[in-house]
């Protein structure tokens, strides 16, 4: 179900397939839809970030997102990834589903101490799990902090490709596409193409690579 939804998002980002509607690929009546939206996070709304979208966002989409936010809030002891992905979905709702009634809740606080303190392999793994937040204009503060560790994220990309962890590599490649100064010798454009060729059968890999291309013009 998540894979199908990710495929739908990736297709929309590539400008293929039918016009995207979240409630079209994840139906409101489906009991598992809130869980799937929560897992996809901000990426559930990524196609709405594409300019000049053809179809207006409907009320059904709003309802689907509200369900997800209500059903799976991060707990008091939530991990940074859980807190940040939730925040990402709230931010995306604000950005791409404006004018909701009642208004969307304010984005909850999420910690960034790990960006400073994680050793680079751990940092890279965590950042890749938050790749949906690389969607502009979300999480500008997090992006700025991660920019301070651009080289470490690039090292994570290298490590991930070498150990054939395509999902992690794609997520990191997407962040590096958003950050201003990915190292030139990394070969980010060819790297994203390589990851798509090698691991693109995983819809989430395809989604990240498509997002890097659509929003940042990176990757062949």
């Amino acid at each position: 179900m998540i894979a199908d939804a990710a495929t739908g998002v990736a297709l929309a980002l590539r400008g293929e397939g039918d016009p995207y509607a979240l409630s079209g690929i994840l139906r409101q009546e489906d009991a598992l839809t809130p869980a799937a939206v929560r897992v996809l996070g901000a990426d559930a709304l990524a196609p709405y970030a594409v300019e000049h979208r053809a179809v207006a966002v409907g009320a059904d989409d709003e309802a689907v997102v509200r369900q997800a936010l209500a059903a799976y809030p991060p707990g008091a002891d939530a991990s940074a990834v859980s807190a940040w992905t939730y925040r990402g979905l709230v931010e995306a709702a604000h950005a791409f589903l404006p004018g909701g009634a009642p208004p969307w809740p304010p984005p909850p606080e999420a910690g960034t101490g790990w960006v400073e303190s994680d050793p680079w392999p751990k940092l890279a793994h965590r950042a890749s799990q938050l790749a949906a937040l690389a969607l502009p204009p979300l999480a500008p503060g997090l992006a700025e902090q991660l920019a301070g560790r651009t080289d470490d994220l690039a090292r994570g990309f290298v490590r991930a490709v070498r150990r054939r962890d395509w999902l992690q590599a794609a997520g990191l490649g997407r962040w590096l596409a958003r950050l201003p100064e990915a190292p030139q010798t990394l070969g980010l454009d060819s790297g994203l193409a390589f990851v798509r060729q090698m691991g693109g059968t995983d819809p989430r890999v395809a989604l990240h690579v498509a997002a890097a291309r659509r929003f940042h013009g990176r990757g062949w």
Binding site: I2, A31, A35, V39, S79, T85, Q129, D165, Q168
Partner: protein
């Protein structure tokens, strides 16, 4: 996996599953190396201070 749409939704179980999907453990690395094919194997050149012939990781000595 969150794929079975007919099962009754156990909220607590599902919440744990969602957390797991958000933050999966890192997969084991897959290391597969380039194989040599062709003449190089036949030459058996002396490689001064060069790597030993690569062996698969499972090699038992």
């Amino acid at each position: 996996m969150v794929t079975d749409r007919t099962a009754p939704v156990e909220t607590a179980t599902l919440a744990a599953e969602v957390e797991g999907l958000l933050e999966p453990a890192e997969a084991d690395g897959v290391f597969r190396d380039t194989r040599e094919c062709g003449g190089a194997l036949l030459l058996a050149a002396l490689l001064l201070i060069s790597p030993p012939t690569p062996r698969p990781k499972t090699d038992v000595r």
